[in-house]
């Protein structure tokens, strides 16, 4: 053992170090002997075994990627398909001067600067012995031209493959999403063996959330190769399991009607079947072309999408947050009746404004001269604000929060694609946490007419409307109704999920509110009476106009003086037929002005199409 010295002692230290160096040398010797014995084991003892293996090592195992499942609409139209394509691919390891090879290739086949940019980007991410695509979508002539010159380009080859294609492009991008090339983040998540031959993976929407089903399982083949590594023949093959086909609940014709009716304005439209949660149309406008993303979008186009004022990349249906405006009123009505704050016959006096006791601030009604004596029915039909200010004041924030939350406001709807936003249903706790302030009574009032902090996504609004149509039965919305297997023809129907039943002490409450909504479109003085004219079926609805900016006390909202992006959002909710609803709709047109003028006519067009078609179907 080392003795202790108080002074630095060179001799002692040099001895200590020397002793340790000898020990290290001994360990090194032992490890070297280990290496030698391992080499001896491999080269001498197992020599025969490995010689046999090396001789049969003209055989390579290569993965066969499965064919991705297709996506169909409810009416059987293909929404996502696989198109055969040829691409020019390069194995970097087998090439010394990539720029030189590209220059030579350019003499035969056109290669754009954007191709090279994408290629260089992929090159950094891939391993040296993996194929990297240089040119995509070669036509037949280009394939033939390269085939003739192939001997000049070792390490470059034509690879046949399938390319995902979305025929309806921007019309369904927010629903279906898209696939794109697998990147570093994907690799961390996925099973590398199963994806060993796969180049693309679902990035968004249905393509992402149903990735496992759509992808399928990888197969293998044993191939014999020549000295350049080119395949001579296939020896053995384990077929891959193709991905499942996915059948959406989307009704393509209804989707088309909705898109046309929206006339390229910013907004969102959701239609769902309240009986089973099937989402019949899912429109977020504007959309963008998903086909550009499949093989990597060039940075210029991507920047243009990011910079666009219309924000096409946002999925407004599940990510757009809007004040619900007056569409909240039927739900407020149920909450008021259930909590005993009002009966159907209780009346409020509406002079055109409402004030809290002891305050001067006037909360204005949209109708300057007022609605006079107003009960709940009239308050919904004419969308009286004062009635709901007063109701909200009597209920208080806590009961409103509890009641509206039951309808799913401020909560995830649970639809089967990712990226959903919660929206916001404010409460005392929320406000304290978010902005460290107590709740003020005035905030309760404007919450009563769907303004203030409350924010909803169109999907939430549609789900809530469906549960109103269902008299409290809350159904989870879904985009996929079934999957099918192309090889076995096995069809699996996915069950619909009933989440909860809102119970009220008297079921007449539902009928009262639904009757009021019926009169919004079919009654005298209903805010959407124009949209209800001459309908061959009966439906219920509620208009909404959500303020984007606050208007000062003594100012008036003058549409023509306000820039477009600050104009009101137009909202409309509806369901039909009123006696046994088969469709519930939520519509938001950004900066569209009034709900009755802009949003309700869209609903009418959709309902006309849907109800007429449904009648045709039922008549046979």
């Amino acid at each position: 053992m080392a003795k202790e010295f108080t002074l630095k002692d060179q001799d002692h230290e040099s001895n200590l170090v020397a002793r340790r160096v000898y020990i290290a040398a001994f360990i090194i010797l032992m490890l070297v002997i280990m290496i030698i014995s391992r080499i001896f084991f491999l080269t001498v003892l197992q020599h025969e075994h490995y010689t046999t293996l090396s001789k049969s090592n003209r055989v390579k195992i290569t993965p066969i990627p499965p064919i991705r499942g297709l996506i169909y609409s409810r009416d059987g139209v293909i929404l996502a398909e696989n198109k055969p394509t040829f691409s020019l691919e390069v194995v970097p390891e087998q090439i010394d001067d990539i720029d030189k090879i590209i220059a030579q290739l350019q003499k035969i086949i056109p290669i754009e600067a954007s191709d090279i940019e994408r290629f260089k980007k992929l090159l950094k991410k891939k391993r040296r012995f993996e194929n990297v695509p240089l040119r995509l979508n070669l036509d037949k002539e280009e394939v033939a031209l390269f085939a003739v010159n192939r001997h000049r380009f070792p390490g470059v080859d034509i690879v046949a493959g399938l390319n995902r294609y979305y025929p309806f492009a921007e019309k369904l991008v927010h629903t279906i999403g898209y696939v794109a090339r697998i990147d570093e983040d994907d690799i961390k998540q996925l099973n590398e063996s199963n994806y060993s031959g796969t180049t693309h993976i679902g990035k968004l929407g249905i393509e992402k959330s149903y990735e496992t089903l759509l992808h399928g399982e990888v197969g293998y083949q044993q191939v014999e190769v020549n000295a350049q590594g080119r395949v001579i023949r296939i020896l053995d093959r384990t077929a891959p399991k193709p991905g499942e086909n996915i059948h959406l609940t989307i009704d393509l014709s209804l989707q088309q009607i909705a898109i046309d009716a929206l006339e390229n304005r910013r907004g969102a439209i959701v239609a769902m079947d309240p009986r089973n949660g099937d989402v019949l149309s899912f429109v977020s406008s504007p959309g963008y072309d998903p086909n550009k993303f499949v093989n990597g979008i060039d940075s210029k186009s991507y920047k243009a999408l990011l910079a666009s004022k219309d924000k096409p990349l946002i999925n407004r249906v599940i990510q757009g947050k809007y004040p619900p405006g007056s569409t909240i009123k039927p739900f407020m009505g149920i909450v008021g009746l259930e909590n005993g704050a009002r009966t159907m016959t209780d009346e409020s006096w509406c002079p055109g404004w409402f004030s809290l006791k002891g305050h001067e601030h006037r909360y204005r009604d949209w109708k300057k001269q007022g609605h006079g004596h107003t009960d709940l029915h009239k308050a919904i039909v004419q969308s009286c604000d004062v009635y709901f200010y007063s109701l909200a004041h009597d209920l208080g924030i806590d009961l409103i929060y509890e009641g509206l939350s039951k309808f799913g406001f401020g909560q995830i709807t649970g639809i089967d694609i990712d990226g959903e936003n919660r929206g916001l249903m404010p409460s005392r706790e929320w406000k304290q946490k978010a902005i460290s302030q107590p709740w003020y009574p005035g905030e309760t009032l404007i919450l009563g007419i769907g303004q203030g902090y409350a924010l909803t996504t169109p999907m939430q609004l549609a789900k809530a409307t469906a549960s109103l149509a269902n008299k409290g039965n809350i159904i989870r919305p879904r985009l996929v109704s079934s999957t099918s297997n192309s090889s076995t023809n096995n069809m699996i129907t996915l069950p619909s999920v009933s989440e909860n039943q809102i119970t009220v002490s008297d079921n007449a409450y539902w009928d009262d509110v639904i009757n009021s909504m019926y009169d919004v479109v079919h009654g005298v003085g209903g805010t959407a009476w124009r949209s209800g004219l001459n309908a061959e079926y009966k439906f219920a609805g509620k208009t909404g106009t959500a303020q984007v900016i606050g208007i000062a006390q003594d100012e008036e909202y003058k549409k023509e003086e306000i820039a477009e992006e600050f104009q009101d959002h137009a909202l409309f909710i509806a369901f039909a037929p009123v006696e046994a609803p088969r469709i519930a709709i939520a519509i938001i047109v950004e900066n569209g002005g009034g709900g009755s003028k802009t949003a309700a006519p869209i609903a009418r067009k959709m309902l006309d199409h849907f109800m007429n078609n449904q009648d045709l179907i039922s008549k046979g």
Partner: protein, 363 residues
Amino acid sequence: MEQRSIGQRLHIDFPLFFGILVLCIIGLVVIYSAGGQDINLVYRQAVKLLIALVGMVIVAQLPPAEIARWSLRLYLFGLILLVLVIFYGDVGKGAQRWLDLKVFRFQPSEIMKLSVPMMIAFYLADKTLPPRFLRVVTVCALITIPVLLIAKQPDLGTALLVAAAGFSVLFIAGISWRLLISMGVLGAAGAPVLWYFMHDYQKRRVLTFLNPENDPLGAGYHTIQSKIAIGSGGFYGKGWLNGTQSHLEFLPERSTDFIFAVFCEEFGMLGVLLLLCIYLFIISRGLYIAINAQHTFGRLLASGLTLTFFVYIFVNMGMVTGQLPVVGVPLPLVSHGGTSMVTLMIGFGIIMAIHTHRRFLSF
């Protein structure tokens, strides 16, 4: 004794220089075969080699006292760069390791391969050896911080080598066996905890290492192919340029990390024995220099760098022969590649400086 030889005037240690040169030539010969008989690849490697050799000779001119003075600054500089890599690093081959300096890209973790042993030798040489408990703790922190930063990139191979460099110095400095064993036990106990925190893909890699045949398309592929190459080479080898496994392109990364498999296939066990002799010659010269150094800093640093050199060899050979996980460590002085070559040569330059400046020091 006071007479200065040519070597000492030029500050070059000829035995070491000779051993390195032989290895590099072997490397060029194997690269020619592994790279598909591409003479351009050999030229390019030769240029990198020359640059690295010049770097070695320049570093050898520095007096060790000067090197010691720079230890702390270089260590801190390296740490800052490692942090910068996290924020501004370039991504390549699935890891964020490079800093793009416009003129060239470089890996800050390479600095750490040298500056960690320098820093620790500098720190420990300051006080009486063996180091006390608290100093050992400090040293462990000095090692762990850069190692974690590098492992996070993720670059397991380099992290391992940096850790090895640091602990080699600590071992040579005479850390007590009791501490050494308790550190080992602590490390072993930490493994299951680490497993718990690992990502699924990391767990998969470990499992694949334990049973490569499970995943013939994935990580197991390298090991399976390199074992076939080595085993089929036999005792005498298939002869230069005659290796079939490497030339049929079954073996990936055959001119870089897996060059040892090509060497084994073509030169057999006989060649391996010869190669190991040259390596052992260089290592024993390095350890001889360490023992004969005149000051503790030199002793610690020279032996630390030499031991790290051996760790390189051992990890690479273990990986290629399928005994250690595939972590991406090149075979020193033989594998194709510039960065690690320069770092290694500068390391040898430091060892030479320690030896050739001996008589003129007044420590």
